[in-house]
């Protein structure tokens, strides 16, 4: 950008501008280095150490890596659950969110009221929402079971059944789909009206209009929703943990030794396993190995986001 040999006055001006830029960026530069750069390096360091947070760390080479990737019994289930949630939860959230978004744009009365109703749940604190859902789906006495049995349907055991625990979490996440609804709604209202009119003149039905007019113009937003959804679901933690703990019914004060992922590790996710390794079993090395595994997967997904297609960065960048 700068000319090759600027005059002294110009050079001073450039220096001033550079210092000014650095000044504005400094909070983040410091924060990035201290709260991200340092711990990332330290995580790599600890992944080669045996460390129980009491005695000084000792070098063990690749032992933690071999243990986590090869022998640790919970690594497989945690990775499987996380991937299952990423695929099922993200797909259903996008489909359902788009459905609700379409519905809202078709409403002709009570738009504000309905939109508020649909958006509200996604603001509910995750812990509170999870506690509420464990109660609602409580086998036998929960309101949902009562309603289903009134209809003559035998309800599943929801959070207490290994086959139903993850679908129950998906149901909880669909309840909070309001944020996606708003994003889709904005995209849908941006589709040029004339294109619909042109399609109608060509005799297109509702499906054809969606396929040839709506869909092409909202694909960037759908793409964005998918990628951010994947990233969010990889950090899925609070809801799975709280649901498992509450549904298991055991006393769960701090320091309790309940194995996470009740029932049968069906709700154990990778972030939960990191917490359990690092803060309950004090196996710092293994926790750091798992952190790095999560880091690599997250970076792979994030690099997808960086593509211009995903719509996260503007043309200006």
């Amino acid at each position: 950008m700068a000319p090759r040999s600027p005059a002294p006055g110009l050079r001073r001006k450039h220096l001033r501008r550079r210092l000014r830029t650095l000044g504005f960026l400094s909070p983040w530069l410091v924060g990035f280095t201290v709260f991200f750069g340092y711990p990332l390096v330290a995580t790599v360091y600890f992944s080669f150490m045996h460390y129980n947070q009491i005695r000084a760390p000792s070098f063990v080479g690749l032992r933690n890596w071999k243990y986590v990737l090869g022998q640790m019994p919970l690594f497989g289930p945690a990775l499987w659950n996380t991937l299952w949630l990423v695929v099922v939860m993200v797909t259903l959230r996008v489909v359902f969110g788009l459905g609700v978004g379409l519905l809202v744009t078709r409403l002709t009365s009570g738009v504000g009221l309905f939109r508020t109703a649909f958006y509200l749940p996604c603001l509910a604190p995750p812990v509170a929402a999870t506690v509420a859902f464990v109660f609602l789906l409580n086998p036998g006495t929960g309101p949902v079971d009562e309603a289903l049995s009134a209809l003559g349907v035998t309800a599943p055991r929801w959070f207490n059944d290994p086959d139903w625990a993850k679908p129950s979490l998906v149901l909880l996440s669909l309840w909070g789909v309001g944020d996606l609804m708003v994003v889709f709604m904005a995209a849908l209202l941006d589709v040029p009206r004339e294109q619909y009119e042109a399609a109608e003149l060509d005799g297109a039905g509702a499906l054809a209009k969606f396929r040839y007019v709506t869909w092409p113009s909202i694909t960037p937003v759908v793409m964005f929703a998918v990628v951010t959804g994947v990233v969010q679901t990889m950090q899925y933690y609070t809801q799975a943990l709280v649901a498992g703990k509450l549904a298991s019914g055991v006393n769960t004060g701090p320091g309790s030794t309940v194995q996470p992922g009740y029932p049968d590790h069906s709700t154990l996710t990778v972030p939960q396993l990191i917490y359990s390794l690092g803060f309950q079993n004090f196996n710092t090395g293994a926790a750091c190995v798992l952190s790095l595994v999560l880091f690599v997967i997250a970076m792979a997904v994030t690099s997808l986001l960086m593509r211009r297609r995903a719509g996260l960065l503007t043309a200006e960048d």
Binding site: T21, Y38, T116, P271, G278, T302
Partner: protein, 285 residues
């Protein structure tokens, strides 16, 4: 904004369409709102009735709410949540704003990589770097069991807030900033006098999101505050509430309602900022 001209449709067809759409909407609204209703109804039931699975309360036991507010720690959790969310939001917005401004409006080498890094950190699960961070706070600074490990990092820019604010600042036309400079404003003055007033809705949206992120945060308090019940926040305390009081679903639901209430209230007063903020997160390409 949602009326769409439906050419070539009979009146009868239009009425049927209206009925179909609004029936679906009512059904969807039930799905979204009924959980709130059941939480509330259960929260005013008697102990015995809450175990019974009956849906409508026999008698309104408002004393459940008093019992929750009197429960040891509950008010402390409220105070802690307010401190964490309040200070955290203030720090995050004040430190992220200049960064976002520089990334949106300055031209400098390395801007694109810087934006990419912000987005990358925003996307990273917090669990990736938590173990070494915890060790520093607990073993070197001896500050675990307090709220400081949660609040202090927010004074050094928050990637999500920076990104959101930048998206908003990009929409401010350059001409305004340039005319301010012609009038002799430095960058800092331009930021505080011109940009901040113009970006108020964006800043409000970011502040709200940051506030609710802190208010709802469970992972952070679990890592740093767990050992000291005096430092628990509402989100963390609520989960322990059940274990301390057995399975009294009525009291648990009263506590749940009290944790949800402020969020719902703030939403009603600041709906527009929320919608704006969500839309901001990534629609415009």
């Amino acid at each position: 904004m949602t009326t769409r001209r439906r050419s070539g449709r009979t009146t009868r067809g239009r009425v049927l369409h209206w009925i179909a759409v609004h029936t679906t909407a009512v059904a969807a609204a039930l799905f979204f709102l009924l959980p709130f209703v059941f939480v509330f109804l259960t929260s005013v039931m008697s102990d015995e009735q809450a175990m019974s699975g009956e849906l409508w309360p026999r008698g309104w036991h408002w004393s459940n709410y008093e019992a929750v507010l009197d429960a040891p720690g509950f008010l402390d959790w409220w105070r802690n949540s307010l401190i964490y969310a309040g200070l955290g939001t203030l720090f995050a917005v004040c430190s992220s704003l200049p960064v976002a401004y520089a990334l949106a409006k300055f031209r400098f080498r390395g801007r694109r990589p810087a934006v990419l890094l912000v987005v990358a950190t925003m996307m990273l699960p917090p669990q990736v770097v938590v173990v070494p961070m915890y060790l520093v706070w607990a073993q070197q600074l001896h500050l675990s069991g307090s709220l400081w490990p949660l609040i202090v990092p927010l004074a050094f820019g928050d990637a999500y807030s920076i990104f959101l604010l930048r998206q908003f600042l990009l929409t401010i036309p350059r001409e305004y900033l340039e005319s301010a400079k012609v009038d002799g404003c430095g960058e800092l003055r331009t930021l505080t006098r011109i940009v901040v007033p113009m970006a108020k809705p964006g800043i409000a949206a970011v502040a709200l999101f940051q506030f609710f992120f802190c208010w709802n945060d469970y992972f952070g308090p679990q890592i740093y505050a767990a050992q000291n019940p005096g430092a628990w926040t509402l989100s963390y305390g609520l989960e322990s509430f059940k274990s301390a009081h057995g399975v009294n679903w009525n009291l648990t639901m009263a506590a749940t309602a009290l944790v949800m209430a402020p969020v719902v209230l703030v939403f009603f007063f600041a709906q527009k900022a929320f919608v704006e903020g969500v839309t901001l997160t990534g629609v415009k390409g």
